[in-house]
């Protein structure tokens, strides 16, 4: 089992998300994260899908995806050749001023932003690689994580690929 990130350009049609996710369900593959957003070209959307699976499963997924009529392009993004980001919003409990300053120091070390603060909690915002966020979240658990929101990964290839040009 291995984490894979697939970047897709799809037609911006109603139902395309259902069709995509339905394909994964149908083939018995679990999506670990999925993001959908507009892209550089009108009428198309970009989807970033993270899945866990073997190389051969990934190959099957790629082929099944390319059979979907509304999928325009598929890129399998390798970890070392892509900029991969996840955004995390987290409400951390701070029981006293000590805790508050510790949370703020750690946030600074991770280059996380303080998005809001109240007397007993701080909302921190961090955009990073998923693994870094995992580590930061683990640290914050020490203080008490009241709520955690993550957008799921989005990724862009470092080479010229990944866009419409290829």
């Amino acid at each position: 089992m291995q984490a894979h990130i697939i970047s897709l350009l799809v037609e911006d049609h109603p139902g395309v998300l259902t069709r995509m996710s339905g394909m994964f369900t149908m083939r018995g593959i679990n999506i670990t994260s999925l993001t959908v957003s507009p892209c550089e070209k009108k009428g198309l959307s970009r989807m970033t899908v993270a899945i866990d699976g073997s190389e051969s499963e990934l190959e099957k997924v790629r082929k099944q995806l390319s059979n979907l009529i509304e999928v325009v392009k598929i890129v399998d993004l390798k970890e070392d050749k892509a900029v991969i980001r996840d955004l995390c919003l987290m409400k951390v409990h701070v029981k006293d001023s000590n805790a508050r300053s510790e949370v703020m120091q750690l946030a600074e070390a991770y280059r996380a932003k303080i998005a809001n603060a109240t007397l007993d909690s701080i909302i921190v915002e961090l955009t990073e690689e998923p693994k870094t966020i995992d580590r930061f979240v683990d640290l914050m658990k020490h203080f008490g994580v009241k709520q955690l929101f993550r957008t799921g990964v989005t990724a862009i290839g470092m080479d010229t690929g990944g866009g419409l040009e290829r």
């Binding site: 037609e11 149908m26 190959e59 099957k60 325009v72």
Partner: protein, 572 residues
């Protein structure tokens, strides 16, 4: 081309005509009134009113398989559309080009649980190649054009177009007959020359080459190429269920259908070959058996398929060749002829001929020792039906009797539910077949259980003068499941007995059809003659042994060369 303001329903019909549609199988409904109003006025499209939407879909499927052109079915919103589902799933599994048009509640009412509302778009997504929910009348020309384009290109399949009532009723100014398609849809047709060369290399050096033909060979109209290659290469041809008819089964190089209920020598050839050229097949579990290591263990596997997603899906192969079967076979022949001279005298060819004649002798010997009544009947049918007759089958024992024993001689004359195994398929598919080929005889090889699932469409046959003949293997059991209960579940016939009703002859007569009962296999010939002579749709109720079994077979968990019940085959 502009035609001034047109109603959505008129646009749909104009586009259907532009796609060459001559016939549609359907049932109207509230949200389709506008569409049916146009069909009433415009006689270019023959509409056949079915008695159940499942039959409309199967009929469109049968029509497509026989004609090679997309079949069209129409159903209303809600229950009409949900009734279509089995038929569409069936056609899609077997890569049969079908375009389904469904009515939908008005766009403003979608999602409100309106009367006869069902989310047809989401329900049918996993069982179609593609589907559309049209929300603007202006989109209709492009959608209908693409529906046909997608259904009938690449790996063929089902496309459904969901049409809300207001989309059909609204009048717009629109250009008809657009050409634009989807940027992401480019079926790969031309095979890669590098892969062709690798294939030719393997085939030219093989001592025991074998060709496995699937439905893709028929779908691509590549049967002539296949036969030529087999003869040139000295390679026997085995087929899948869907590939039946890819080579005339009386050809000395034909070993018939392989697989779970295949012929023993077809399966043995798979076990013995040293190169296997599989064309237009997806290596379904009904072909390979359950022990994949016993499937062609000594062979270099070459897989030709138009759908790249089928490569290495069910079976790991050595040489993948993605592309159209006809083009691939043409290329292979072209290069092979430069490389190799024909070798019809080899030991392997000798063995093929022996295997072929052993099967032929077995099948020709109607009253062979150990033959059941079912065996005898299907063997009798071989002597009665001429080469042009189109045979459809229901699903179960009757289907496997037909697949095993019926000698198919031409492509598109053996129509069966392969992937989905949908009981009730054969009879409505026969209706579609007869409509596609009105000058030819059409026979449905049926079981009593299967036929009862869709027999109400006898009314459609009578009202539209569609003469199909249904031959029922009547054992008053859900025979295939009963067979498994007998062999593997201690003869505990749990809910497979069908009792004594109905009287199929009276049932036929009640619908205004011809009915006759056959108690002895030798009486079948006269009964079939009477049925065709009656000029009416007909039902022949063939009483068979209640516990007749389809053998040989690969038992559950078994591999392709280990069949049970093979002692009845002629040893060589």
């Amino acid at each position: 081309m502009t035609r001034g303001k047109l109603k959505g329903a008129e646009i749909v019909v104009e586009e259907l005509k532009n796609e060459g549609v001559e016939v549609a199988f359907g049932i109207p409904g509230g949200v389709l009134l506008d569409l049916y109003d146009v069909l009433y006025k415009d006689e270019a499209i023959r509409h056949i009113l079915m008695r159940h939407e499942q039959c409309a879909a199967h009929a469109a499927d049968g029509y497509a398989r026989v004609s090679g052109r997309p079949g069209v079915c129409i159903a209303t919103s809600g229950p009409g559309a949900t009734n279509l589902v089995t038929g569409l799933a069936n056609a899609n599994m077997d890569s049969s080009p079908v375009v389904a048009l469904t009515g939908q509640v008005p766009t403003a009412a979608i999602g409100s649980n309106a009367f006869q509302e069902a989310s047809t778009f989401t329900i049918t997504m996993p069982i179609t190649k593609h589907n559309f929910l049209v929300t603007r009348t202006e989109d209709l020309p492009k959608v209908i054009h693409n529906a046909f384009y997608i259904a009938n290109t690449g790996r063929k399949g089902v496309v459904l177009v969901d049409l809300p009532k207001d989309v059909l009723a609204t009048k717009v100014d629109v250009d008809l007959h657009p050409k634009e398609t989807f940027t992401g849809y480019k079926p790969k047709i031309k095979p890669n020359p590098v892969q062709i060369k690798k294939t030719v290399e393997v085939l030219a050096n093989a001592e025991r080459p074998l060709i496995l033909a699937g439905g893709g060979v028929i779908s691509a109209n590549a049967t002539e190429e296949l036969r030529h290659l087999a003869e040139f290469l000295g390679a026997p041809v085995v087929t899948t269920l869907m590939g039946k008819g890819a080579i005339p089964e009386n050809h000395p190089f034909s070993l018939g259908m392989a697989g779970m209920h295949g012929r023993i020598y077809a399966n043995r050839a798979i076990g013995e070959c040293d190169a296997l050229l599989a064309v237009g097949t997806r290596f379904s579990d009904r072909l390979t058996g359950w022990q994949l290591d016993q499937f062609a263990p000594e062979a270099t596997l070459i897989h030709v398929d138009i759908d790249a997603a089928e490569i290495n899906k069910n079976l790991q192969v050595d040489i993948p060749l993605v592309g159209d079967a006809k083009l691939a076979l043409q290329d292979i022949i072209k290069w092979l002829e430069k490389k190799k001279t024909t070798s019809p005298g080899s030991v392997w060819v000798q063995r093929i001929r022996e295997m072929h004649s052993a099967c032929e002798e077995c099948i020709g010997d109607v009253r062979r020792e150990g033959a059941s009544i079912s065996d005898m009947l299907i063997k009798e049918i071989n002597g009665i039906l001429d080469d042009d007759v189109i045979v459809t089958t229901e699903v179960g024992q009757c289907q496997m009797f037909a697949a095993h024993y019926y000698i198919t001689k031409k492509p598109r004359t053996f129509i069966s539910s392969g992937g989905l195994g949908a009981m009730g398929f054969g009879f409505p598919a026969a209706i579609g077949a007869k409509v596609a080929a009105p000058d030819r005889k059409v026979v449905d090889i049926a079981g009593d259980g299967s036929f009862l699932m869709t027999c109400h469409d006898l009314a459609t046959c009578v009202e539209n003068d569609i003469q199909v003949v249904v031959c029922i293997f009547d054992n008053r059991y859900l025979g295939m499941v009963r067979q498994w209960q007998e062999l593997f579940f201690d003869k505990k016939y749990s809910h497979t007995g069908l009792g004594i009703t109905p009287d199929f002859v009276k049932l036929a007569e009640a619908f205004g059809c011809y009915g006759e009962r056959v108690e002895k296999p030798e009486d079948l010939k006269d009964a079939l003659h009477n049925a065709f002579e009656s000029g009416k749709p007909a039902v022949i109720d063939m009483i068979v042994g209640k516990e007749d079994k389809v053998l040989p077979m690969i038992p559950p968990g078994g591999g392709i060369t280990r069949m049970i019940g093979a002692e009845r085959c002629k040893p060589i």
